[in-house]
């Protein structure tokens, strides 16, 4: 059977695409460990980066763990614990925290883990959960006890993404 030229070109492109796709998938799988942006607290023990190596630690800011302070030279200091459930790491950071930083929020910190188990961060980045809601809706969920942002993710989106709460009255 003789293929037409168009057919042959189509097959060449399809085969080249299959080969390229497989190669990319294999490469990404092989390098997956190097493509992670941060390590979770429970991953640290296995990787054991050592006190000299700076790395990124990521997780949720544990509810009730945030203490804000001022250093001797007047710069803002924050102490909090980063958790991923099974493990928790205490973090200290001197500097300004980003807007999204709060308890229960995802966070990525860059720093070194001291021998005392304290993670000294030189940079703190807040992660954004993928929820977008107006302040009134968030307030209503909190008021009715459906959600405490400190304890993690909001309830399923279908329960609030069409909610029309009455504007919260001042002073009530």
């Amino acid at each position: 059977m003789k293929l037409s030229r168009k057919r042959r070109r189509l097959w060449i492109v399809v085969l080249a695409g299959l080969g390229l796709g497989t190669a990319t998938a294999l490469t990404l799988t092989a390098f997956q460990d190097n493509l992670v942006f941060f390590l979770a607290p429970s991953e640290i023990a296995g990787k054991n980066p050592g006190p000299e190596r700076a790395f990124r630690l990521g997780g949720l800011v544990e509810a009730g763990s945030l203490v804000k302070d001022t250093t001797a030279d007047g710069r803002p200091e924050a102490r909090f614990r980063v958790t991923d459930g099974p493990a928790t790491v205490p973090v200290t950071y001197v500097g300004v925290l980003p807007d999204l930083f709060r308890e229960g929020q995802g966070v990525v910190t860059l720093g070194k883990l001291g021998p005392d188990g304290q993670f000294r961060a030189s940079e703190v980045l807040a992660r954004h959960d993928e929820t977008y809601m107006p302040p009134e809706v968030a307030a209503a969920l909190k008021r009715t006890g459906h959600w405490d942002p400190k304890n993690g993710a909001p309830p399923p989106a279908a329960s609030w993404n069409t909610m029309e709460p009455a504007p919260a009255r001042q002073g009530s």
Binding site: K6, R9, L10, V13, A16, G17, L20, G21, T24, L28, Q32, L35, V36, F37, F38, A40, G58, V96, L97, P98, D99, L100, F101, R102, V108, E123, V124, L125, A126, R127, H128, D129, E130, T131, Y132, M133, P134, P135, E136, V137, A138, A139, P156, A157, A158, W160, N161, T162, M163
Partner: protein, 265 residues
């Protein structure tokens, strides 16, 4: 962009493929006639929808409970990201048609698509950076999502440069089509980078299984803005493609005119 190539371009009408199906739109004459009346409507519709979307996004939509007013950057950033990827998917389809079926309009479409694609990808990166600085606390991070979108930007720029780098337009189109198809592996990487790897960038809010994680007060203006930006993108690419087709006819017409005068003399 509009400088006529020294070599004679592939004649358009004379090689318009015969037969039905896809090739009915391969005839540049028919393409020009069809799009002549469409284009003004497209510009007008884009202006109306985008105007409404902009007003809704900036004035009549609520702030976010934790991002505050900064959430309004999202109404540009997300449509730009979708257009950057959707446009690239279009470039890949045009490149396939160019390589396999030697579709002359596909060459022109690919060539005129890449500057606009590079622009929307640059806008996606710039607006993301403007959002990231106050929200995350950094302008940029080398996480899998942001790095793969930066690669997409380089692919757009590389394609735009490559197809214009050859004296012979057809060779440029062939090289560009191969680059575009190789670069298409980046699209799934961008889309699922936030799920495969842990990244600073959040996972998808709108296109996820189950309900969108976005209140309808923000979702609806986002969709209107997306439609508006898409219409505007389509209008400006279509205007460039039409202009390119007309410029080719112009060159061939002038050539024919010169030949006729030479014969008469």
């Amino acid at each position: 962009m509009s400088t006529p190539a020294p070599s004679s371009p592939r004649p358009l009408a004379s090689t318009a493929p015969r037969g039905g199906g896809l090739h009915r739109f391969a005839n540049p004459g028919r393409f020009l006639r069809l799009t002549d009346r469409l284009l003004p409507w497209l510009w007008g519709l884009a202006a109306v929808v985008l105007g409404a979307g902009t007003a809704w996004a900036l004035l009549f939509s609520p702030p976010d409970w934790q991002q505050g007013e900064t959430v309004r950057i999202m109404y540009v950033h997300v449509p730009m990201a979708w257009l950057a990827m959707g446009g690239y998917a279009g470039l890949a389809v045009a490149s396939l048609m160019s390589l396999v079926w030697r579709h002359p309009l596909a060459d022109i479409a690919a060539r005129e698509l890449s500057p606009a694609g590079a622009m929307v990808t640059a806008l996606c990166l710039a607006t993301g950076s403007l959002w990231g600085r106050p929200m995350w606390g950094t302008w940029w991070a080398w996480d899998a999502r942001m790095t793969s979108v930066l690669v997409l930007f380089f692919l757009w720029v590389g394609h735009a440069a490559l197809v214009r780098a050859f004296d012979e337009e057809e060779r440029g189109a062939r090289a560009g089509a191969i680059l575009a198809l190789i670069g298409a592996v980046n699209l799934p990487v961008i889309k699922w980078s936030v799920d495969w790897f842990n990244t600073l960038h959040q996972t998808a809010s709108v296109t996820r299984i189950g309900a969108p994680g976005m209140h309808t007060g923000m979702l609806y203006p986002l969709l209107v803005c997306t439609i508006g930006f898409t219409l505007l993108f389509a209008a400006l690419v279509l205007a460039q493609v039409r202009a390119a087709v007309m410029e080719r006819r112009l060159r061939q017409g002038q050539l024919a005119q010169a030949r006729r005068q030479e014969g008469a003399a």
